[in-house]
């Protein structure tokens, strides 16, 4: 294992210490329990947006804390969901009284930990809603699995929802918007190489020199299928078509019903893309893939979207949701409406995403 680290067990702690030193104007870091939060939190009257998940996906989530995006992020150990006490303390720290939205990627561990955290926060008098992101079309059904995983759309949701909260949307509206972003976003990823979790010390899987893994998640877990390496254009086409041609996706998720005061099952339906849709096209590096290759992928994605009648109105190309040093990429398409475009364009100032300010 070749990494610029000291001891594997100290990676997350030392990273957070580095983040605190590097961005004192933007964020503060609380240790034990660990969370990163806006330097100026709580922001009066503003709904607090909190996310979290295993570490190793940087800049997500800690790098998205700041003005116009997240109020706090809870990092777990590398690729391991964080714990409810982190989420609870984060909520207590950044809640201004306007309530808290937990943005939760759909992994069993994340979902359960955030649900427990929400329950605990409510016993302390904090209004909390949880919204899931489950956008990974590599997972085809939800009946026989834990459902689609939360991947690229998470980044877009954190930006758009963060802007809405900054603008003064109330908790209910922020949650509704987050759900809307989620059902309109779809992603698919692939890997050329595995990555190595510091505590494990060895690669998460093996791939031959001429192989790639399609439908990979963001935890170094194997994907949908392994196949011979193809050209960038062929790979882009495979990923893009899996997304664009994906049919209606229906599943039941658990959300908190504030009126009933209990968790209820909600059925969500992702409508398929259709010609004429306005989309945000997001080409993401899994970490080790350089910009030069992302540009080559974007080039082909643009061509495919055009051919399919999808109009790219915004884009994001870079490293935003990663799997440590893994080489590979993911594509996310998000159907945009005017509200989402306006919120996407709103100023954001975080270590990992910044514009307009």
């Amino acid at each position: 294992m070749k990494k610029l680290i000291n001891k594997p067990e100290d990676v997350v702690k030392e990273e957070l210490e580095g983040v605190a030193l590097a961005y004192p104007d933007l964020v503060k870091v609380h240790f034990d329990p660990d969370f990163v939060y806006r330097a100026d939190a709580p922001v009066k009257g503003k709904v607090a947006v909190i996310s979290g998940g295993g570490s190793g996906h940087e800049p997500m989530h800690g790098g998205f804390v700041g003005v116009g995006m997240l109020d706090a992020a809870c990092p777990g150990q590398v690729f391991t969901s964080p714990t409810p006490d982190q989420m609870l303390e984060a909520a207590k720290t950044v809640n201004s009284g306007a309530g808290v939205l937990y943005i939760v990627k759909n992994y069993t561990g994340d979902v359960m930990n955030f649900e427990m955290a929400a329950d605990l926060a409510r016993t302390e008098g904090i209004r909390v809603l949880n919204i899931l992101i489950d956008d990974d079309v590599a997972v085809q059904d939800s009946l026989y699995t834990a459902g689609r995983r939360g991947v690229g759309t998470t980044v877009l949701a954190e930006k758009i929802v963060g802007a809405a909260a900054e603008k003064g949307y109330d908790l209910k509206k922020v949650a509704d918007l987050c759900r809307k972003v989620n059902i309109n976003g779809r992603s698919m990823g692939m890997a050329l190489t595995p990555c190595t979790v510091p505590m494990a010390g060895k690669p998460t899987f093996e791939l031959a020199e001429d192989e790639m893994e399609i439908g990979i998640g963001i935890h170094g877990e194997p994907g949908r299928k392994r196949m011979k390496l193809k050209t960038a254009d062929e790979i882009t086409e495979m990923l893009a078509l899996s997304i664009i041609e994906d049919s209606t996706y229906t599943r039941t998720v658990r959300e908190w019903d504030e009126d009933k005061g209990e968790w209820v099952d909600v059925t969500l339906v992702d409508p398929p893309f259709k010609a004429g849709d306005q989309v945000l096209a997001f080409v993401n590096s899994m970490g080790g893939t350089p910009d030069i290759e992302l540009a080559i992928i974007y080039r082909k994605l643009h061509e495919i979207c055009e051919k399919k009648g999808l109009k790219i109105v915004r884009n994001l190309v870079g490293r935003y949701i990663t799997s440590l040093e893994m080489q590979g990429c993911s594509i996310t398409l998000l159907k945009m409406d005017d509200e989402m475009i306006e919120l996407w364009d709103a100023p954001v100032k975080t270590p990992g995403l910044r514009w307009g300010i």
């Binding site: 561990g109 427990m116 026989y144 699995t145």
Partner: protein, 212 residues
């Protein structure tokens, strides 16, 4: 002789030992169908439980178990943390205020733990999770007590049932948790969570047997 709070404390300490000894094994199982962290997570969790025990040494069994549950919740992470955390907290609620536990109390605690896991994780029998080890164990203990078995005897039958339940997960296709993403590829591997559940139940039985 009833189980005392000293026995409960001893049991939790022994659980920490057992998990520590099986850290690699559980992680290895999780690397086949999960993300190779179950042993690491559970070990971190039980080390955290150990640290909390001195502060509750003179407390009732319920408080001790709830404290252990909270320690697990705030240190394990992943799926294991909320599931085992809930299990121990619910078990603690079932024996709240008690300083001595009879066989029925232990059964009640285990039933509550199982209910907690199912409430939290919504897994069904056969989904290839810890539920497949805990469910038969609870049933076996209930049945043994109904047939007049003593505490240790009943817990040993529970252990045997948990072990069988654990092994029965091998041919199953995972429908919950991370392993479910593998589809058919999850078949043929023993579930790590079912394995840790078996190890914990076995530890309870061993403590009860030492008592007699």
């Amino acid at each position: 002789m009833p189980i005392t709070t000293a026995d409960v404390l001893a049991c939790l300490r022994k659980m920490a030992d057992v998990i520590h000894e099986n850290k690699e094994y559980l992680t290895e199982l999780d690397s086949a169908i999960g993300d190779a962290d179950h042993g690491i997570n559970m070990d971190r969790g039980f080390q955290s439980v150990l640290k909390k025990l001195p502060s509750v040494e003179d407390k009732d069994a319920g408080t001790i178990l709830k404290t252990a549950g909270m320690a697990l919740v705030s240190s394990v992470g992943g799926a294991g943390g909320p599931l085992y955390g809930t299990a121990f907290m619910q078990a603690g609620m079932a024996v709240a205020g008690k300083y001595e536990l009879e066989a029925e109390d232990i059964l009640a605690a285990l039933e509550a733990a199982l209910k907690g896991v199912v409430m939290r994780g919504k897994a069904n029998l056969g989904d290839k999770t810890m539920v497949d080890a805990i469910t038969p164990a609870v049933a076996a203990m209930r049945e043994a007590l109904r047939n007049g078995a003593g505490t240790a005897e009943a817990l040993e039958q529970a252990t045997a049932a948990a072990e069988k339940g654990m092994k029965d997960t091998i041919p199953m296709l995972a429908k919950k948790g991370r392993a479910s993403y593998l589809g058919e590829r999850s078949i043929g591997h023993q579930d790590p969570g079912a394995t840790s559940s078996y190890l914990l139940i076995r530890t309870i039985a061993e403590i009860a047997r030492e008592k007699e």
